[in-house]
């Protein structure tokens, strides 16, 4: 009898590790785009001005503004009158998400390639050079079609417990995913500054320029492109070096070093030999999105996480690192923040965008011990940067566009001047 009872109960409970229910998934459906890569490269560079739909990287020149249109190109805005900025050109760069500006040149990624575009004449950009297949060799499907990128569409679907939709997507598209890992992903910031003038670089760039070389970071790899009179040419790095980490997001040059921010660390690479970066130090931190701003012997790092965002986690803070010895970086201070994004230095003040939670200004007279001097709640700032020539102007990127503010007194107040909405 007892055996029978145990058998019945055992039968009843065997195989119970099975969950029931539903999951509603909102995701970006990526559809492969096929075409002739030579035709894509041959598309006209200058196109009529168009509306801004999906803004990406923003560059602030002395009298102009560049606004990236994700996957499409760059809007050129005449900002000689900050009260009345006017769109004057659209530079067509298919697949582009990230770029860097050095003098009169834009260095931008475009699908497989890195291009150098002369913008001395804002109305008529000129392609100076193209380094082909920097990130990936030409990928073709079974039908011989060349993959040139992906288009994305947001979808929401509900699946039952037994549905293996996601597993199938991963299994059946492995080769696409390998390709995708090599191309340059979207920035972790909604829209951010590539730089301002020739001296101020943005803190959330994936492309930068130092010592006549362009440096580009993907998720796991660094790419180096030499810029010479002969044009752009890819520098071959050893596989061991080129795949240097996981979740790389930002790169910032400072003196002989590149500061690379990844989800879990800040890595410092010495570029005394610009074609052979050497890792000097890795400073590990909590997993987060982390723009890095190096300055004289110090580096400020914002760590941002949020539930249901690209940066899940439970850390929101401003780290202050002592980088006087780049082989032995020390954490000096950690300041609790709400949702820190990009940042910039303006004299002895550190501006940190807090997204929907405003803008914080720190006194960094003692650069290792920043003191909060002001929180401006009515300025929604993902990123912030000073105007390159007008020291009274500060620009922010926010949920609704770019805004220009007049800074009065000792950053006592920011008065709105104009906006470019998108």
């Amino acid at each position: 009898m007892r055996i029978l009872i145990l058998a019945i109960i055992t039968l009843g409970i065997i195989g119970c590790t099975e969950d029931y229910g539903t999951v509603t998934v909102t995701y970006q459906e990526a559809t492969a785009l096929y075409g002739n890569i030579d035709d894509v490269r041959a598309e006209p560079l200058n196109e009529p001005v168009r509306d801004i739909h999906d803004p990406g990287k923003i560059y602030l020149g002395n009298d102009f503004i560049l606004i990236g249109e994700e996957q499409e190109g760059i809007h050129v805005i005449d900002n000689s009158d900050p009260l009345n900025p006017i769109a004057v050109n659209f530079i067509n760069l298919p697949g582009n998400k990230e770029y860097f500006v050095k003098g009169n040149y834009i260095y931008a990624e475009s699908y497989y390639d890195v291009v150098k575009v002369n913008i001395a004449d804002k109305h008529n950009a000129i392609l100076e050079s193209r380094a082909e297949f920097v990130f990936q060799d030409l990928w073709k499907n079974e039908e011989g079609k060349s993959l040139i990128g992906f288009s994305y569409e947001e979808k929401t679907e509900t699946f039952d417990a037994g549905d293996d939709f996601y597993e199938q997507v991963l299994a059946e598209n492995e080769i696409y995913l390998d390709y995708a890992k090599n191309i340059i992903p979207k920035s972790a910031l909604p829209s951010s500054f590539a730089g301002s003038g020739s001296k101020v670089s943005g803190t959330a760039n994936r492309v930068t320029y130092a010592k006549d070389h362009v440096y580009v970071i993907g998720n796991t790899s660094m790419y180096v492109i030499a810029d010479s009179d002969q044009g752009l040419s890819k520098v071959s790095l050893s596989d061991n070096f080129s795949r240097i980490g996981e979740g790389m997001e930002t790169i910032f040059p400072y003196e002989n070093n590149l500061f690379v921010g990844s989800r879990s660390a800040v890595n410092i690479f010495n570029i005394s030999d610009p074609q052979h970066p050497v890792e000097a130090y890795e400073f590990e931190h909590a997993t987060a999105c982390d723009p890095v701003l190096p300055a004289d012997g110090v580096a400020y790092v914002t760590l941002r996480t949020a539930d249901f965002s690209a940066c899940p986690g439970n850390t929101n803070s401003l780290l202050v690192l002592d980088t006087r010895n780049t082989n032995d970086v020390k954490e000096e201070k950690e300041i609790t923040m709400t949702s820190p994004y990009g940042m910039t230095l303006k004299g002895n003040e550190l501006y940190v965008g807090e997204g929907d939670n405003g803008l914080k200004i720190f006194d960094v007279s003692n650069k290792y011990k920043p003191e909060l001097i002001k929180t401006i709640n009515d300025v929604k700032a993902f990123d912030v940067i000073p105007h390159p020539t007008n020291s009274n102007l500060t620009l922010t990127t926010g949920p609704n566009g770019i805004s220009q503010y007049l800074v009065e007194g000792n950053s006592e107040s920011l008065t709105w001047q104009s906006s470019i909405s998108y």
Binding site: I5, L11, C16, T17, V25, D307, G313
Partner: protein
């Protein structure tokens, strides 16, 4: 097999067990239970704690493996040599898979239940059931957001004999936890995947514990 079917089967097993124990009760009644409560206490206050792990933790298939770890403590009252009631609280971690998405849930659980000793033997088998509520962790510290939900557990156990005031026990139990929540991932292309789920987590767990008079 729908989970409600399993509940019915399990309850049938309990009923059969009670019937069988009634037949065998007399044979062991005096020897085991009533000699100064030598092996098993039969009346009054008791308390204990346990750790349970999901049987899937032993799975060799790492791609399908789902972890479950539960820790809990309880206090109870024995009304007689057969029946006791108890109440307790615990912490429960369960991995769960829905539509090939994997979710981690953590709950602080508050529960109450009853236990029925099937046989009066030195190694004393018993059945038990409990029902309770799982409270999610504080949201400000949560990477994922999951809401509170009911939980219930039923199982078959064995208490080991002891002449001291404590004894060991083990049990196989069937654990359920309702969970609603949301979690975001970054897919291999670097895009966000946002999920919302409404699920019933089912786990067969192996439980080890210690009980004190």
């Amino acid at each position: 097999m729908p989970h409600i079917t399993r509940i019915i089967i399990l309850l049938l097993g309990v009923i059969f067990s009670i019937g069988a124990s009634a037949q065998e009760d007399n044979a062991y009644d005096d020897e085991i239970i009533k000699i100064e409560h030598a092996y098993h206490d039969s009346y009054g206050y008791h308390y204990g704690f346990s750790m349970a792990i999901g049987l899937d933790d032993f799975s060799l298939d790492t791609t399908k493996h789902l972890t479950a770890v539960h820790l809990d403590g309880y206090v109870g009252w024995r009304f007689n040599k057969k029946l006791s009631l108890f109440s307790g609280l615990g912490f429960e971690f369960n991995e769960s898979r829905i539509a090939s998405f994997r979710f981690d849930t953590q709950f602080f659980s508050l529960y109450a239940g009853g236990r029925y000793n099937i046989l009066n033997t030195r190694y004393m088998p018993y059945v038990y059931a409990r029902a309770g509520y799982g409270f999610g962790p504080p949201q400000e510290d949560a990477i994922v957001d999951h809401e509170n939900g009911q939980n219930y557990q039923a199982g078959l156990g064995l208490t080991f004999p002891s002449k001291t005031n404590y004894r060991y026990y083990m049990a196989f139990a069937w654990h359920h936890q309702e969970a609603r929540g949301a979690e975001s991932f970054i897919d291999p292309l670097g895009n966000e995947i946002n999920t919302k789920y409404d699920i019933l987590i089912n786990r067969l767990v192996l439980k080890f514990g210690m009980e004190f008079n």
